[in-house]
């Protein structure tokens, strides 16, 4: 026997190649870490010593880069101009130009305009709303290239004259270089200074006009940027790099490099230790070491502040989610993911080493029942605590996050939100997985009984856990799970355990079950806590309403008035009265008023307090001439903040600004209602006032009521609360904190009311904030929004796993079941998706038509009203237009000769947010194509809206009336968002149902084919005792029946053939024997006859003849003996083929053939003790025979148990069949003995013979009516 022990030592050594690589990397990172530590102070010292040179180099780089970028930007504008000239060259007349321009589309970074020889604007392509007619700009000159200023932007303009027909035209190509209007998204493309600042990592300001030159002190320097082709130059102002700041930056960079290097060193060491650990024998030490290594990596990342050090990403933004739990290891979505991944890895390691390992059941019998009970209860309690932890975690995700998982739904979420969805799913997976491991170990630990008792035991544990869970719920003061969710969680957990414990299934599909169960539970929890949060938010909302805000608003007004840049702005632009309103807009835009979305007014007043220009978001509230009389102590000195005055609920501040030739005032007003619900909001595209109302709510979902002395004094609500409810609210019982909760029916629906009593004023009042109780269908709606995203994530990971193990799994793709499943899915999901897309498009079309219709109707109303009341002298035009707005409640704009003539919301046009020029597309459709009206999609920043333009004759003049849903709300029965949510919610549920049903159907339909395949393999391996059980109808049932018949026939024929062959063989042998025996018998007879004759004749040669005859007789008898020996050798059985085999593999092969039989086969086959010498084929046949015998003895469970005893391998085959009767137990191994009608009686005989040939033995260890144990003993392979 060969000795293989020396190979084990070899295998325990790490392959030398890997060793070298790891050693190299460890050295590299160690040296880098140390090297940086040594190098950085030297570098810093060097920088200090040579700072002048370093500074010159830095300044040189700044100049070069700025010049390159400046040249590049101008070149792109010149290129755009030349392309436009080429395009114009192909056109014939002005109409073609207008048509061509309208097709160009709006471009926020490039505007083309065509002027005729009278300087009238005839064509433009839209975009850059603040530019307008260039010739009305005070800065504009007829130079070929220049910079011009509007109040909101600085633009570069190229002019080119061209001829068309016989007329001269002027092409203007305009591109923004700076924009001073800042909304939420910083558009670096529109700010050259910001672009350079970011590129060069220093503060840069570009000065486009010499009169704007700033005073430069020693810390700043400036240089010129020149473009010879365009003949323009600008000045760049930047602060000189400061040595101290540069050193700080260097230190930070070196620190980052060191931290990264340290982490990589740690990672390499962990990898090296990992390989070492993998070679250990002890599973506990191995598993613990692996877990500790992963943990050390996570701790390393945390201590070194990675990934925050190297990543600047929204995934690390704490505002999406953060918690102080764990000293900050979950302080952002990405940090939370990393921590969860560590937990999942630890669980995977635990499951691999402790769940999939077999436990010696016999050992369990030594542990007392009390101890087992204690362990069981402990494990159950641990799992209940884990469930509570899940509830707490999800609660934290809701309350410590600014994400509204249901309200902010998007089919494709932003990365931080998608990451949080993944985190939520992982939390559920971890808890369920951990519980599965605990209970799987528990069942293995406890179930040493026979398996037919396991199922009732399993059910018993399930019920016990549910009852303990209920008890646990009631003893907690603050349960983190609802009863229903805990019951569902435990049920799902035990559904997964059923596969592991009862079916002994360890396939990766288990993880799929765990993932979907986790999704179900976590989304339900999310839904539950979202409801709680909404309730909390109602409370916060009401509290915020009565919270004092005056100090904050005072502060905002104060800061706005005193901002240094405002004075400079006013100085620069006040010579152009038209720009006064735009100045006010810039002041407003750069202030906290805009940032906080505060309804306000910014005005510039002359010395008589008359308005020169303003931006006023509520003209009724912020009336003109607020300062007609000032308080006596009002201090209006420059740089002093004036006293506030309040009129009604208005807070305002005023400041004097002394210009060289006059005195003006800057006024800022805001609105404050110290108590009550009179809320004011800006339009959505101007910004949200989150201070007043969180984004989770809108005035569509929250209803506010103010009740005083039993009367409703104010409300913001679309429903009528009713007098009965008012009385109930007034009579409510309030807590010590002056609050109360109530559920009331309003308009047939149930609402949750939060009531807050405010008794600070003379008159006590109650603020009621109410929200509709979500009914079940709406919660389902919420549920599927997030479940859909979880399903996508799960399928993605399943696909990745499948792709990763593609080689192992590719055969599964081509099975009958897989093909059937693909076909079923294909023919059902494709039409479903088609229908979803169609329905969505239909909804979009219907919505568009509805919007068009409603807006068009409003334009018609405006036109009719204007025509009706447009009586010369009856009203002045402005008053008439205002009457339209107040009487009809419609905000509109009028264009005459393609220019704005009037607008209800003029401030947005004055500020440059909306264009005062008619949209070129509209111009083309209405004036060239002759349409009467057109619906256009427009955009203000990123806010999209729709507008209808309608040609109308008012009096004798042609106008274009514009009405948009920007200022007129249009209610749709099913908005685009609602439609998307509905479609994806419902259809995703349908898709999931289809997948589940298709899988079940595919399984059911392909089941007989699978059984036939396996049965065919069994028959080919020699097992003719099987019979397929299949209950179905039609051809499949016929096929199965015919197959069973065929196997029976084969078996019968085999037996008959064997009989015939045996008979024939015996006959032939007998003939041979007879023939061979005859040969020596003949001479023997002759010899005896000769002897008798000699004796009768009293021959003198009798002695001689006697000797001769006896010799002949002896020879012939010898011959007969040889004949007998040879025949005996011939009758010996065929030889066996000896080789080293793994017994467990042979057993597995045999067992696999019985996969679809109604018998459970349990294997207890330790890997390290299964090698023997034997004949694979014969051994397999023997095992198949033994299994078949057990099945035929009505066994439902067969256990294969392999053990080692001294120099023998003992294989016990234990079944729970009907046993062998005492009368025949000694005969079963005898040749030709059988109890079966059609048996040959050679199976066990052959098995016995085989074992004897292997120098082992086979015997019946025990038998009774509850089962039989057959033992096979094999000699151990040395």
């Amino acid at each position: 026997m060969e000795n293989y022990s020396h190979l084990d030592d070899e295998m325990k050594k790490l392959p030398s190649g890997k060793n070298k690589i790891l050693a190299f990397f460890i050295s590299l990172f160690l040296l880098t870490t140390i090297g940086v530590g040594i190098y950085s102070p030297q570098k810093i010292d060097s920088v200090r010593e040579n700072w002048d040179e370093v500074l010159s180099e830095k300044i040189k780089i700044i100049k070069q880069t700025a010049q390159e970028e400046f040249g590049r930007k101008l070149s792109s504008i010149r290129l755009a101009e030349s392309k436009m000239i080429t395009r114009i060259d192909s056109l014939q007349n002005v109409d073609e130009i207008i048509s061509s321009f309208s097709k160009l589309g709006k471009n926020e970074n490039l505007l083309h305009q065509i002027y005729n020889d009278e300087d009238s604007l005839i064509a433009w392509n839209g975009g850059l709303n603040d530019v307008g007619n260039l010739f009305s700009n005070v800065n504009f000159r007829r130079y070929s290239s220049q910079f011009i200023n509007t109040v909101t932007s600085t633009h570069f303009v190229l002019l080119k004259e061209f001829e068309l027909g016989n007329s001269q035209f002027l092409l203007a190509t305009i591109s923004p270089f700076e924009t001073f209007i800042d909304f939420d998204i910083e558009n670096i493309e529109r700010s050259f200074s910001s672009f350079l600042s970011k590129l060069l990592n220093t503060d840069i300001k570009v000065i486009y006009f010499p009169e704007d030159k700033e005073v430069i002190n020693g810390r700043y320097f400036s240089f010129e940027l020149l473009d010879n082709e365009a003949n323009v130059s600008v000045e760049v102002l930047t602060q000189k790099p400061i040595l101290d700041n540069y050193i700080i930056e260097l230190n930070q960079n070196f620190g980052s490099i060191q931290s990264i290097s340290l982490f990589l060193l740690l990672l390499t060491i962990v990898i090296w230790l990992w390989f070492k650990t993998a070679r250990l024998d002890s599973k506990i030490i191995k598993a613990t070491s692996f877990i500790l290594l992963i943990l050390s990596l996570r701790i390393g990342l945390f201590l070194l502040n990675i990934p925050a050090l190297i990543l600047k990403s929204e995934l690390l933004n704490s505002s999406y989610f953060s918690s102080t739990w764990g000293f900050g290891i979950v302080k952002s979505p990405l940090e939370l993911l990393l921590s969860l991944l560590v937990l999942i890895s630890a669980l995977l390691i635990t499951s691999k080493y402790f769940v999939l390992e077999k436990i010696d059941f016999a050992q369990n019998r030594k542990i007392g029942n009390i101890v087992k009970l204690l362990i069981s209860v402990t494990i159950i309690l641990i799992s209940l605590v884990l469930f509570r932890a899940l509830g707490s975690a999800i609660k934290s995700v809701v309350f410590d996050s600014s994400i509204y998982y249901f309200e902010d739904f998007n089919i494709v979420p932003d990365p931080p939100i998608l990451l949080m969805h993944l985190n939520i799913l992982l939390m559920g997976v971890i808890i369920i997985f951990a519980s599965v491991i605990l209970f799987a170990l528990l069942f293995r630990f406890l179930s040493y009984e026979k398996s037919w008792k396991l199922l009732p035991f399993f059910v018993g544990v399930f019920v016990a856990v549910q009852l303990l869970g209920l008890a646990y719920h009631f003893i907690q003061s603050n349960p983190q799970l609802t009863i229903f969710l805990r019951v569902v969680l435990i049920t799902l957990l035990f559904a997964v355990l059923y596969f592991i414990v009862i079916h002994q299934s360890y396939s990766k599909v288990i993880f799929l079950y765990i993932a979907f169960s986790s999704s179900f539970v976590t989304v339900s929890l999310l839904n539950h806590y979202n409801g709680e949060q909404q309730r909390e938010s109602l409370k916060k909302f009401a509290e915020d309403l009565i919270r004092p805000k005056e100090h904050w608003l005072d502060y905002v007004i104060f800061e706005t008035l005193n901002k240094e840049e405002n004075e400079e702005l006013i100085f620069s632009y006040l010579n152009d009265p038209l720009s006064a309103s735009r100045i006010c807009f810039r002041v407003w835009n750069s202030s906290l008023l805009h940032q906080e979305g505060i309804v306000s007014c910014v005005r510039i007043l002359d010395s008589n307090f008359q308005t020169i220009g303003e931006i006023n978001f509520d003209k009724k509230l912020f009336r003109d001439r607020l300062w007609t009389t000032l308080p006596e102590d009002t201090d209006l000195e420059l740089e002093r903040f004036a006293a506030l005055s309040s009129e009604g609920h208005v807070l305002s501040g005023i400041r004097r600004i002394n210009l060289p030739d006059k005195e003006i005032y800057l006024e800022v007003c805001t609105y404050n209602n110290p108590s009550g619900i009179d809320l004011k909001f800006l339009p959505a595209f101007m910004g949200q006032n989150i201070y007043l109302m969180e984004p989770q709510f809108s005035l569509n979902t929250v209803n506010l009521f103010e009740i005083q002395d039993g009367n409703l004094v104010n409300s913001i609500s679309e429903v009528d609360i009713g007098t009965e409810n008012i009385k109930k609210i007034s009579d409510a019982e309030f807590s010590r904190l002056n609050e109360a909760w109530m559920n009331l029916h309003v308009d047939g629906e149930e609402y949750v009311f939060y009531l807050l009593k405010d008794d600070r004023d003379v008159f006590e009042k109650i603020i009621a904030a109410a929200s509709k109780l979500n009914d079940l269908s709406f919660n389902l709606f919420h549920f599927f929004k997030v479940f859909f995203i979880h399903s996508i994530i799960i399928f993605f990971f399943a696909l990745m796993t499948f792709a990763f193990e593609f080689n192992k799994n590719k055969e599964r793709l081509f099975t009958f079941r897989a093909k059937l499943l693909f076909v079923l899915l294909f023919i059902s999901i494709i039409p479903m998706i088609t229908m979803a897309i169609y329905f969505k498009q239909l909804t979009d079309q219907k919505n568009e038509s509805a919007i068009h219709y409603k807006l068009l109707k409003r334009t018609t109303s405006v036109a009719e009203y204007l025509n009706k009341y447009n009586i010369p002298g009856a009203f002045n035009t402005d008053m008439l237009y205002k009457r339209v707005e107040s009487d009809l409640g419609i905000s509109f704009a009028l264009f005459k000769d393609k220019q704005l003539s009037y607008a209800s919301k003029k401030l947005y046009y004055d500020s440059g947010l909306l264009s005062s020029l008619l949209d070129p597309v509209v111009q083309e459709k209405l004036y060239l194509d002759g349409k009467n009206s057109i619906l256009v999609k427009e955009k203000i920043n990123d806010y999209q809206y729709e507008a209808v333009y309608r040609r109308s004759k008012i009096g004798n003049d042609e106008y274009v009336i514009k009405v948009s849903d920007l200022f007129n709300s249009i209610l749709l029965p099913l908005s685009e968002t609602d439609a998307s949510i509905f479609i994806f919610g419902v259809y995703s549920f349908a898709v999931l149902l289809i997948i589940v049903i298709s899988t079940l159907l595919a399984n059911q339909i392909s089941s007989p084919i699978r059984k036939l395949t396996i049965a065919t393999k069994s028959v080919a391996s020699g097992d003719l005792g099987l019979k397929i059980e299949q209950k179905s109808r039609g051809e499949v049932q016929q096929l199965v029946e015919e197959f069973n018949l065929m196997v029976e026939e084969i078996k019968k024929n085999q037996i008959e053939l064997a009989e015939i062959e045996r008979e024939s063989a015996w006959k032939e042998m007998a003939k041979q024997v007879a023939h061979e025996i005859k040969n020596p018998l003949t001479p023997m007879k002759l010899s005896v006859q000769q002897l008798i004759a000699a004796h009768s004749d009293k021959s003198p040669k009798f002695d001689e003849i006697f000797k001769k005859v006896t010799k002949t007789l002896i020879n012939q008898i010898e011959t007969l003996k040889n004949i007998a020996s040879e025949f005996s050798s011939f009758a010996r059985m065929p030889g066996i083929k000896m080789e080293t085999i793994k017994l467990r593999n042979v057993i597995n092969d045999a067992v696999n053939l019985f996969m679809n039989e109604h018998v459970k086969i349990i294997l207890d086959l330790p890997e390290e003790i299964s090698e023997i010498k034997g004949d694979v084929q014969q051994l397999r046949r023997a095992l198949i025979n033994l299994i078949r015998n057990s099945i035929q003895a009505d066994a439902t469970e067969i256990i294969f148990k392999l053990s080692r005893k001294e120099k023998k391998l003992i294989l016990d085959i234990i079944d729970n069949g009907s046993g062998i009767s005492d009368e025949i137990v000694d005969k079963i191994f005898s040749p030709n003995f059988t109890t079966k009608e059609l048996g040959m009686g050679v199976g066990l005989t052959l098995a016995k013979r085989l074992m004897e040939n292997l120098e082992g033995r086979i015997f019946v260890k025990s038998t009774s009516s509850s089962g039989t144990t057959i033992t096979l003993e094999f000699p151990v392979l040395n």
């Binding site: 540069y246 918690s323 410590d400």
Partner: protein
């Protein structure tokens, strides 16, 4: 009677002083915490729901947990060198403090405006509003 009145007045003055000193104590903590980029110096006084408005665009109501890291990360990003503020309206039910934060960015000294307001919640003074904007 006069003595009782005097006592009551005394208690009121004392309690007012207590209130003022408590408010100042918390605001000082906030001042130090912001200047030293160490939110834990005043995190205990953050309300369960704080309105935060920062120059990087962060704006909204956040839980105390979130507020800790949002403010901490912001301060680490700007690295304040000096904080100055004055308190106002200590006597009112809504005391505020406002001032300036000086910091260095891209080699240039910059300033942010600081605003903090407090309210009395469940028998304790809490910071309910922090604003650090340009």
């Amino acid at each position: 009677m006069f003595l009782i009145l005097l006592l009551c007045l005394g208690f009121q003055i004392l309690s007012a002083q207590d209130k003022t000193s408590e408010i100042n104590f918390i605001l000082n903590k906030a001042h130090n915490g912001i200047e030293k980029t160490n939110v834990s110096l005043f995190s205990d006084y953050l309300n369960s729901r704080v309105y935060i408005s920062l120059s990087d665009g962060t704006k909204g109501y956040f839980s105390a947990n979130q507020s800790y890291y949002i403010i901490q990360d912001f301060l680490i990003g700007i690295n304040p060198i000096k904080v100055s503020f004055e308190t106002a309206s200590e006597e009112s039910e809504n005391p505020v403090a406002f001032g300036d934060i000086e910091y260095v960015s891209s080699g240039k000294k910059n300033k942010l405006k600081l605003f903090i307001s407090m309210e009395f919640f469940h028998d304790k003074w809490r910071i309910t509003h922090i604003s650090m904007t340009k």
